[in-house]
Amino acid sequence: MTRFINFNNLTTIALRKRKNETEIDDRMKKRARFNEMTINSMPNELLWEIFSLLDRDSLLNANLVNKNWNNLICSTSLVEKIDKLYITAEKVDNFIPDLTRKYTSVRFDDIVDWSSELMEQLKAIGKCITNVTFVECVFFGNDIINLLQMFPYCKFMEISCCYEGCTPYEKYTSFPFRKVEMKSLKTVVLRGYSWPLSYISTPNLKRLEVETLGKEDQETLIIFLNTLKELRTLHLVDIHDLFDSRCGTIRTPKFKLKELLMVNLPLMDSDQMIRFLRHMKDSVTLLELGSELNVRVCEYILLNFNNIYSLNIDYECFPRARSFYQKMEMNKNLKYLALYGNMRSSKQLMYFLKRNTCVEELLMSELHGLHPNNYEFWHQFSSLVPNLHTLCVRRINVYNMVFIKLKNLKHLDVEYIGYATCNSWIQFCLNNPKIESFHIFARYQDYFKNIEYIIRGSLNHLNDFFSN
């Protein structure tokens, strides 16, 4: 039977078979393609399930991925996590808040004209904004008391004032007014003028940042500081004639600061300042001292604040006299030291480090002011900071790096000037064998091609290398 094979039939069968196979293949492929899902082929409700598990910061990033994600995140109740009411100058005229939302943050951006209409509009959406905990505004008018009353649960408030309101003196005398009590307020950031402080009473304030005040604003600031009890952090930046005695006397504060920042405070009243600081010499652990500070105040702080854990300091703040450092006690609490400004002489730093022997992290900026042949400092450097595990240096002369011998150094971040030879890099690695991360930037382009190879070969623990 098989002998009589019809060749015609055979070919058709074979053809048919092949056709069938390709058909199946195609179908399989189609299905495979169909099954090949991307995150965008998932239904929105499932994407929503995913987004609902994200925290606020991740949502803000996911918000930017593409339009669909943005729509999804902004159009659903997820916005409650972002919950922002953003009012800009362009939007202010046709400002239509979503009354179904509960906002927790409000930002007024570039609004010059704080018209009564805007206030009316804000009042109209009162229910939506009573839960606001974050207010940030540039304020021009003097209607601030009305504005503040709208946010009774506010925790954070940043006010930049560009408009001089009535001075508190006028206010007190011209008509009786009640301060707005804001019990939830924990942080106030204030720029420009201090008069808004005279309208609020904040018994629980923990953090106060004051920037750029004029002499005439001291009175309000002093009165305000005298009322605080819970303050832990105080930042004072760019203030002339701080605590000028003609503007009132600062009482012994009831609070004990943990964190203090003082930058650019020319002509401060050193007697009042020292009286103010006397009670917190043991409580402050984080300190930042910038340029333009009174020498007496600097000396007082460096001598008496013995529990500082982290110190950011401008080179200028170090007193020059050697005798000062002899008065300093040995201190083992300081672990983090960051030095700013342009270092011209290394002597003060050396004296200082001799008294603070347990520094573990050191950041030094702008060393190019040092004489390049300042070997004395670099010879002693390693013995001054034997416990150092992190070193970050800007503009060091590369020849001086050979003198750095730190057994415990793990993280290095250096910007250097000058040209180094292979041998000096090898020597440096041998001197500091435990380095795990090595970041170097050459100020001027150097022979950079082989350096990674050399350093990787010389350091056993290296797991992170970066160069420009």
């Binding site: 899902m37 991307t38 995150i39 995913i50 991740s58 803000l60 930017l64 593409n66 994600w69 922002k84």
Partner: protein
Amino acid sequence: MDIDRPSDPQVSVVSSDGTMFHTTLKSILLSGTIKDMIEHIGEGGVENMGAIPLQNVDSKTLEIVIKWIEHHKDNIQPTSEEIKDKTADFIDPWDENFLEMDLDKLYNLITAANYLNIPQLLWLSTRKIAMLIKNRTPQEIRSLFNIEDDWTPQEIEAVQKENQWCEEK
């Protein structure tokens, strides 16, 4: 219907591409959808019931789902409300290991868990994706999930500006 009886009868399910899988009643009841179906049939119906067709789940995904429900058949499953209130982030190491799979499998698993109504599995798999989104920049998210960037520079700037102050907080 008495679910807790000692004998755990066999049940068959058929995937969308026609593959039959055998599992036990106890495990399949973790799926809310199938539980409703079986409760609808009523007592005594289970033994005589034929294979359950699952039109929206393919065989690869169904295999993964069955592996998971069989492992968890004796655990008490939280309801979706309980999962929503969940604050503790504890994950069974077995589940952690189980979820090590390609992204497209994971998407299919999410869709299947949603269709089959297995809240715990849905939570686990969506959480896995959420963890991938977490702490990544928009560009990293795009390249990880192969998403096209369809913003114009002006649009992205506007959205970024609105975001910015939130991030600063």
